[in-house]
Amino acid sequence: MRTIRFLLQKEFRQIFRNKSILAMVIFMPVMQLIILPLAANYEVKNINIAIIDNDHSSYSQKLIAKITASGYFKLAAYNFSFKQAFKFIEQDQADLILEIPAGFEGNLIRENEQQLFVAVNAINGTKANLGGAYLGTIIRDYTGEIRFDLVQPGRLSPQPVISVVPMNWFNPLLNYKLFMVPGILAILVTMIGGFLSALNIVKEKEVGTIEQINVTPIRKHHFILGKLIPFWILGNVVFSIGLLVSWLIYDIVPLGSIVLLYGFISVYLLAVLGFGLLVSTYCDTQQQAMFIMFFFMMVFILMGGLFTAIDSMPQWAKVVTWFNPVSYLIEVMRMVILKGSGLVDIWKHLAIIAGFAVVLNCWAMLNYKKTS
């Protein structure tokens, strides 16, 4: 016990003298939580649309007004030839072309039917998809309106109408920040914990102090604990700062129990730190450790369910996410913070992460050799 006290004392002194670690622990979560959620936005706005109106009627004007008033579209070009409008697409100034044919109004009134032409730039898949869908919805809406105008309500044929009104549970306004912030916080905690612990032991290897440690009668598990505990505390500090920022800036207050959240994070940090330590036992230089950590972090983050839903991944990818601790954390964060889930709902996650923690730390401890 006394040995651990000396180790902790030393580790904390070094941490507090290392300005970059302090900056990483305090400023990184604050900055990233303020900036990233604003940028990592699922909503597609500012879709540039080029409209070619060959009809110049009050009906076509009404449609254009409806599109531009929706807030999703920006009128990038108006009334050029299709050829010219296509140039805009080629130059990436427009994402969509809507061509309103001549006789739009007349056909609508006389024939009750009219086709519109929409061309979508599909290079940016998300924008194209969503833009096309938004435009489709607006046009459908518009059709409903003119149908109302054209046909007298009394003579309206009693057509059965099924209207779908979705209710968005747990995030009624579909506020993407509610969805992103817990996820980003999860990644922050993972990154800081993983990198700090991975680089720390390797740095001692590089400087040569590890040899001085190895030649002392220090016990292996004491040494590992001496490294684990300080970073575990730092990880909790990062998490707390993150929760504070989410509350102050995004007004996100966990619906579920804070104690449960901290309980899960505590176990989770052990797993992540264990992973960092494991990596460090295999590396001789900080550069190696950095690259290996980056490799895993990329996979963890991109396959963690933050940016793309795990449910829509192919089966093999889903299997990969089973071995990704980040995916469990992101899920638990969202469950507890947004849904108010309790221990009953997340005990499986907790058990799996505890498994990760045990395996990774034992592995790191076995692979750390005082005598080679």
């Binding site: 040995t3 400087v207 040569g208 102090t209 040899e211 001085q212 030649v215 002392t216 005082k370 080679s372």
Partner: protein, 246 residues
């Protein structure tokens, strides 16, 4: 006859095809200053690392402070001090903090820590600099501090791997005075060096060439045997035949 603190019998370390130390056998008595000489790459550091329990030998036998170099490495570590080629105190801790940390790890009590810290700082005349970060000290001071930290827990043997590399002659002299003081406290000193004047300070000297011990005796006897006037000449006669270079 005093008891032998270090005993080796055909101790060998292979790295693949390369035989770093080739069947070395020797004994070091308690309270002795044993000089372990050899050209760069002769296998000194490897031998020393095996004796410190940092490296498991490939074959042969050895004991340090009565403990086996294969099975009792952790027990060996309790009874030795080690100062490596690389300076290895924590540069971002102060003088006092380093003393406390390493003393604490070796299990000194708080009282001992206090007493030892005062004594050590007094010996090095570091009263004014005890709260300075070790990284900011001149190299000579660091080396002396490093040595005293290595013997802080009064080990049976202290291993010094080129402790005076890159240090000025005055500081080297002071360093050796510290070594002599430790021997008076019956600490055995096992030291490697490239400075032949330092070899003269040793009770006995071994010279390694290409992984083998080619000569082992007192400096006086060695000079006589090789008809040389200084250890420098002895070393030159033995080491120029070496095939391994840097």
């Amino acid at each position: 006859m005093r008891e032998a603190v270090i005993k080796t019998d055909k101790l060998t370390k292979r790295f693949g095809e390369f035989i770093a130390t080739n069947a070395i056998s020797f004994e070091v008595q308690q309270g002795e200053i044993f000089g372990f000489l050899g050209a760069n790459g002769a296998g000194k550091t490897t031998a020393m690392r095996m004796l410190c329990g940092l490296l498991i030998p490939s074959s042969g036998a050895g004991t340090v402070a009565g403990f086996d170099v294969y099975k009792q490495t952790e027990k060996i570590k309790k009874s030795i001090g080690y100062m490596s080629q690389k300076f290895s105190l924590y540069e971002d801790l102060t003088v006092l903090e380093n003393i406390r940390f390493f003393g604490g790890i070796y299990g000194l009590s708080n009282q001992q820590l206090k007493a030892k810290s005062i004594e050590l700082i007094h010996r090095l005349n570091l009263q004014k600099d005890k709260d300075r970060l070790v990284g900011t000290l001149p190299l000579g001071w660091k080396q002396k501090l490093s040595f005293l930290v290595a013997v802080l827990h009064s080990p049976k043997v202290v291993f010094l791997d080129e402790p005076t590399g890159g240090v000025d002659p005055v500081t080297r002299r002071q360093f050796w005075e510290l070594i002599y003081e430790s021997v008076e406290n019956s600490i055995t000193v096992f030291v490697t060096t490239h400075y032949m004047d330092e070899a003269e300070y040793c009770n006995r000297v071994s010279i390694m060439v290409d992984g083998k011990i080619e000569a082992l005796d007192t400096p006086g006897n060695l000079k006589e045997k090789y008809g040389a006037t200084s250890m420098d000449e002895v070393f030159y006669q033995l080491a120029r035949g070496a095939k391994r270079g840097e």
